[in-house]
Every structure is written in structure tokens, then in C-alpha cells.
């Protein structure tokens, strides 16, 4: 057992944090995505067989933790971990060759279109239909919460067989952004990003649009989403630590009744609680990363949902209290402090809230007890 970072990991953490801090300070507007490609960050979790570096969830977590700390790059997990992970896991050789190297260089910008209205984060909820045609497939249905600005293609989950929340019979389809019958309605997101709802109306696709010719892609999808959650757990740790640090700084400088706010014991204890939750969050994010690639799907799912249940609650607490302790300034757009909360809210919308994951954990625990 050894839970320390390797020298390479320490170096990665330092360079990621330094780079992002410097960009933030200089208000550097150059394309971060291109720079990340250059630095090899995009290639990190992708397989070595296709220009990737084959690194694991702990390395990804080092990166996303830095993103959280500097409120940067919300595209990494959905594009690299989710889309990249799915293609690497079940894509055909041709699909991998077409997409993975392009992901590593930052050229490809795919987006996973999976969530639907009324799904409430049930990952098997797929109403979008995929019908077999002479030439391949015809897709119809609506998707929501498709993350990222201007995707160049979508990986769309659609039901080939079974009923609404069956785990079997779900396929993933590669759909180009300019496909006929596809309508993309983009909207702003609470965390300052972009997302879209997409409508598919009789979208005709060739036979090889089905990822890996796999008509039961649920397991792969479930695993990829869990891996993305591990990355988001780490992002929340960075975010919580940054929010707490900003609050410590503010309460030390802000004078009320002739003394710094930070001398008030009630606020000190609040800050102690924020720090405790940062530490517990760090433990749970690490745990999530260590289980994210596990072969035991039940253990992985329990570790991921447990971590997220804890971290979502902690991050909401820390982000809300950071605002509270900033007083009036906290509820304005003049400081960044509200951005932490907005990002947490966005992640809960994407991943599901603490309640949802506590229920998943309890259901998995009951299943484990019964087994």
C-alpha cells in the first residue's frame, strides 16, 4: 500500500497548477485546448495503441483537480474521459483510428448525447430509438445536456431493443454534426459554458455508425460515466480548496467592528468545517480514482457513487459557505467566488445530486448483501 504521488505525478500537478494560474493571472485568451494537446494532456488517458499515453484515473484526477482549482476547462472530462474512453473501450479498430489520434491532437471535438428528459440520471433510461434500415440505422429522439461548445460529432445512445429503462439493447452511434434530420439547440450553461439539446428526426446512419458494432453498450457507458465522475470528484476537490483558501484570505483582510472577520470563532469553526470537508473530499476523490478502472463493476460503482455522494454535498456546503463568508460581495458577479457554486450546481445537474448517488450506493450495498 502506497498512497503518495510518484515524482512524475507531483511534477504533473505542479505544472498543471502553475500553467493554469499563470493563464488566469494574465487573462490569457489563447486556446487552452490547443495548449493541452501540445502538453500531451489530451492524450493522457487514451490508449498507447492510438497515440495516447495510457495513463490511469489518478493522473487524470491530478489534472482535473487543477481545473477545479482554477475554474478551467470544463470540456476535458466529457470529451476526453467520456467520449475518448467509450471509443477506446468498445470502438472498432477503424473507429479508434479515426477518432483517438484526432482527440489527442485536439482536432476532434465529439460530445456524448445520452441524457434525456425524465431520465433523472438513470443511465439506462434511453427512449431514443435506433431502427435497423437497409443501409444501417435510423435514429429518432431528443437528448438534453449535451456538453461542450460546437461539437463536430455526437456519440448518441439509442435503444435497439428492450423497453425504456432496460440495461440491455442500448447502442452508441457516431453521428456527424451535419447529419440530416439532426437539430442542435445550443444554450448557455450555469457554469459559463455551452451545452445543447439535440433533436434527431429520422437521422439515417450507415451500419458502421454503431460504436464497436455493440448492441449492448450499457456496461461500457456505465463505466465511462463512472470514470468521468472520478475526474469530476477531483475537480471538486480543487474547487473546494480554492474556495476555502479564498475565504480564508478574505476573512483575514475584511475588517468588521475593528477586527478581521477571521477572529470570530463562529466563522473560524465554519472554516474548520470547510477544511475538514476538503480533506475528506480529497480522500474520497482519491478513492474514486483508485477504483475507477477496477474490473469489479460493483465495487467500482459503489466507490464512485459513495465518493460523489460525499463530495457533491461537501462541495455544495463549501461553495455556499464561501459565498456566505464573503458577505454581500459573495453574491455578486464582481468576484469569482460565486463561480465555484455555479460549477458545483452544473456538475450536480450533469452527474446527479448526492441524494441520487446515495440511493445508488444503498441499492448496490443491498445487492452486495443479498449476494
Amino acid at each position: 500500500m502506497n498512497l503518495g504521488y510518484s515524482d512524475e505525478q507531483r511534477l504533473l500537478s505542479e505544472s498543471a497548477n502553475n500553467l493554469l494560474a499563470a493563464r488566469a493571472q494574465k487573462k490569457d485568451a489563447r486556446d487552452l485546448w490547443a495548449e493541452m494537446a501540445e502538453l500531451g494532456w489530451l492524450a493522457m488517458p487514451l490508449p498507447e495503441s492510438h497515440d495516447g499515453l495510457g495513463q490511469g484515473a489518478v493522473d487524470v484526477a491530478i489534472l482535473t483537480e487543477a481545473f477545479g482549482r482554477h475554474l478551467a476547462s470544463t470540456d476535458y472530462a466529457p470529451r476526453i474521459v467520456l467520449c475518448g474512453g467509450l471509443v477506446a473501450a468498445i470502438g472498432s479498430d477503424a473507429q479508434k483510428a479515426a477518432l483517438l489520434p484526432a482527440l489527442a491532437t485536439g482536432m476532434a471535438k465529439p460530445a456524448l448525447a445520452h441524457a434525456e428528459e425524465n431520465a433523472r440520471h438513470d443511465r439506462a433510461h434511453v427512449a431514443t430509438q435506433a431502427a435497423r434500415t437497409a443501409g444501417g440505422w435510423r435514429l429518432s429522439g431528443d437528448k438534453i445536456g449535451v456538453l461542450g461548445a460546437a461539437p463536430d460529432r455526437f456519440i448518441v445512445s439509442a435503444r435497439i431493443a428492450g423497453s425504456l429503462r432496460d440495461r440491455s439493447g442500448i447502442g452508441l452511434f457516431l453521428v456527424p454534426a451535419d447529419a440530416r434530420g439532426l437539430r442542435v439547440l445550443s444554450h448557455a450553461t450555469v457554469d459559463g459554458g455551452q451545452a445543447s439539446r439535440i433533436e434527431l428526426k429520422d437521422v439515417e446512419l450507415p451500419a458502421d455508425a454503431l460504436l464497436g458494432a455493440n448492441e449492448n453498450a450499457f456496461e461500457a457507458l456505465d463505466r465511462a460515466v463512472d470514470q468521468a465522475i472520478a475526474a469530476w470528484c477531483a475537480e471538486c476537490v480543487g474547487l473546494m480548496e480554492a474556495a476555502t483558501a479564498a475565504t480564508v484570505d478574505y476573512t483575514k483582510i475584511r475588517i468588521q467592528f475593528g477586527k478581521p472577520l477571521a477572529v470570530n470563532q463562529a466563522l473560524r469553526h465554519r472554516i474548520a468545517d470547510m477544511s475538514i470537508q476538503c480533506e475528506e473530499g480529497r480522500s474520497m476523490a482519491l478513492r474514486a480514482a483508485l477504483y475507477a478502472d477496477s474490473a469489479d463493476a460493483g465495487a467500482r460503482a459503489r466507490a464512485i457513487s459513495g465518493a460523489w455522494a460525499k463530495i457533491a454535498k461537501s462541495a455544495r456546503f463549501v461553495a455556499e459557505q464561501a459565498i456566505q463568508l464573503h458577505g454581500g460581495m459573495g453574491v455578486t458577479n464582481e468576484l469569482d467566488i460565486g463561480m465555484y457554486l455555479k460549477r458545483v450546481v452544473a456538475l450536480e445537474a450533469i452527474v446527479g445530486g448526492a441524494d441520487r448517488h446515495l440511493r445508488r450506493h444503498a441499492a448496490l450495498s443491498a445487492a452486495a448483501r443479498a449476494a
Binding site: 433523472r120 438513470d122 451545452a195 466563522l267 453574491v331 458577479n333 445537474a349
Partner: protein
Amino acid sequence: MELAFTPDEIAFQNEVRAFLAAHLTPDIKRSHALTPSVFSDPPVGNHWQKLLYAKGWAAPLWPKEYGGAGWTLAQRYIWEVESALAGAPSVTPMGLRMVGPVIMKFGTQAQKDFYLPRILKAEDYWCQGYSEPGSGSDLASLKTRAVRDGDHYVINGSKIWTTHAHYANRMFALVRTSDEGKKQDGISFILIDMDTPGISVRPILTIGGDHEVNQVFFDDVRVPVANRVGAEGQGWSYGKYLLEFERGGAMSSGRLRGALRHVEKIAAHYRDGERPLIEDPAISLRLSQVEIDIDALEMTELRIMSSLQTGQNPGSVSSSLAKLRNSEIKQAITSLAVDVLGEDALVWEPRRPLYELNEPLPLEEDAITALPEYLNGRAYTIFGGTSEVQRDIIAKVVIGL
């Protein structure tokens, strides 16, 4: 002891319901519902106040001699509950409940004659110049200075968190007229015309994306000495009177109940698969929890009202407690609403005012304000005395040290 209304009170309740049915049009309700600010948008609130004025109901608690409705506390309570449940806009408190009572109690006859009718008729829109950058909870440390120059004060400094200053034509402000003695001394209460030269207003956007508050700058702003209310250097006590009036006068459970009903409405049309979210055990338990919290606050408010009616002083614990619980319950409601949105809590709509948009909204009208309301609502436990300050006040009274 009796919880039920008297026959007179029931008759009044019916009158209120009839008035709301006749005057609270779908348009007004919609404008109010589509305002995610902490306060009603001024045009919406003003329009509503004018309708109330026509009925003689603009100022529930003002005595009749000043054009008030002269209601009993029970009548006012009935009004608050009914209009909140019906979805009526809230009228800005700045004139009617804040500066009005101060002018009434401490103003000159000329001030009363001039200002009170204008407040009543919504001809003036007031903003409050209390907080300053650097003061916050420690209000008495304010630094905006008014220096006497003949018949005028010359004002320099800055106020912050000034709600609707970009809309208001008048401000009541606390300004420093002396540095002698305690910091609470040397503060005067002054009425300022917002179009006086030297005043500039800088908008501050809240985290929900709304323009409610501002920073106001005073650069050699000349205000007639006649605009001072009461004695020079006594402003702090008037300001405190006003704050107590503001807190103790709150009857907030009706509005909370209305907000909870709104969340139930959203939860009834959002679904988890086939099941309406309102039938989800976790959601229904949280709805019950909030309902119970509102029940408790309502009974506390009724108890306060009951003791006020019999001439007793409910004390500062009561008003701090009501402020504290009201703000916490409000936040619980907005959190619950965001959780009901689920995946839709990702969707951000920055355009304002929402009720004037002609293009389609990215979410249902019922749901579109939940997220900015949650975010803006972080202010509930900060403005008007933070929750921490309220707890300090309660502890001081209870412990006596």
C-alpha cells in the same frame, strides 16, 4: 385561545379574495413569477401598488390619517397570506415600510405633507443608502460625509448594495455629519433627490445575473438641510427604529407557502421515468419538511402578532428568529427547486426581464427562474443582518453576557 378567524376577519378575507380575483391579472402574476430577483421588478411592483392605492390598501399598517388602510394585524396577516398564495407581486418596502414610518414619526410637517402622499401613490420610488463598501454588518462605521455649507449639506462618499438605485428617484441615507463621540453619534438621516448633480450609479450584477443592487457615488452632492429628518446626529436611532420596523413587521410565512406551492407545481410536472417527481419519496419528504418549517414560522409569527395585539413587546429574539428562519426556509425552498430541475439545472438564461422576452425560453416558464432564484437567494442570509449577526443578537439576549 383561538386559531380560527372571527366573522369580521372572514368577511375581510373574502373581500381580499374578491379583490385579487378582479385585479390580479394573469399578466401581473406572470411578470411577478418571471422575476428571479429577491425583490419585485420596480415597474411590476409599482403597477400593483397603484391598484392597491385605488382600493385604499397601499399602506396596510399606516394610520388612516396618512391614507393608510388602518388594518388590524390580523387583517394584514390575512392580506399577506392571500396575496402571496395568489401570486401577487410584492410592493417595494423602501417607501411604505422603511422611510415612510420614519418620516411619519420624526419628520417635519412639511416633510410629511410632501413625501407621504407620494410614497402612498407610488409617485416616488425610494432606495436605501445605508451600507458602504467596508462597512457591512458594522453599519455604524459608515464614512459617507455630509458637510454643512449654508443651507446645504455637501455629500461625498459612496453607498453600496443600493437596491433599485438605478430606478429610484429618491434615497434615504445615513451620512456622517460629525466625528465626535461614539461612531453611532454624528450620523444623520437625510433624504436625497437622485437627480441631484454629482450622483452616479454603478450597477452590480448578482450571481443570478440580475440587476437589483448598485453602488452609488456622491461627488460634492448638495442636499438642502431641510431634507434632514429629525435632529442632526440622531440618524442612527432613526435608522435602528426603521430596522426594527422592517424585521418585526415581517409576515413572511404566506410568501414562503406560496413559494413552496410553486415548487410542488414544478415537481408535479417533472418526471422520473413515468413517475411525477412529487411522488418520489425523497422529494415528498423534503416538501413535508419545508411545509412543517413554514408551519412553525407561521405559528411563531402569529404568536408575535398576538402579543403585539395585546400591547406586549415580543422582543428582539422574536424578530431575529423570524428573519433567520425566514431566510433559511427560503433557501431550502430554492435548493429544493433546483434539485427538482435535475438535468435542467444546467440551463442558463441570462436575458432580462424574462417576462418581456418574445423569443422562446430554454425551459418551461415555471422552471426558468429556479436557478437564478437559488443563486440570488444566497443573499437572504446576508442582507438585512447576516445569520451570524442574528445569532449574536439572540445569544446576547438569552445569555445576558
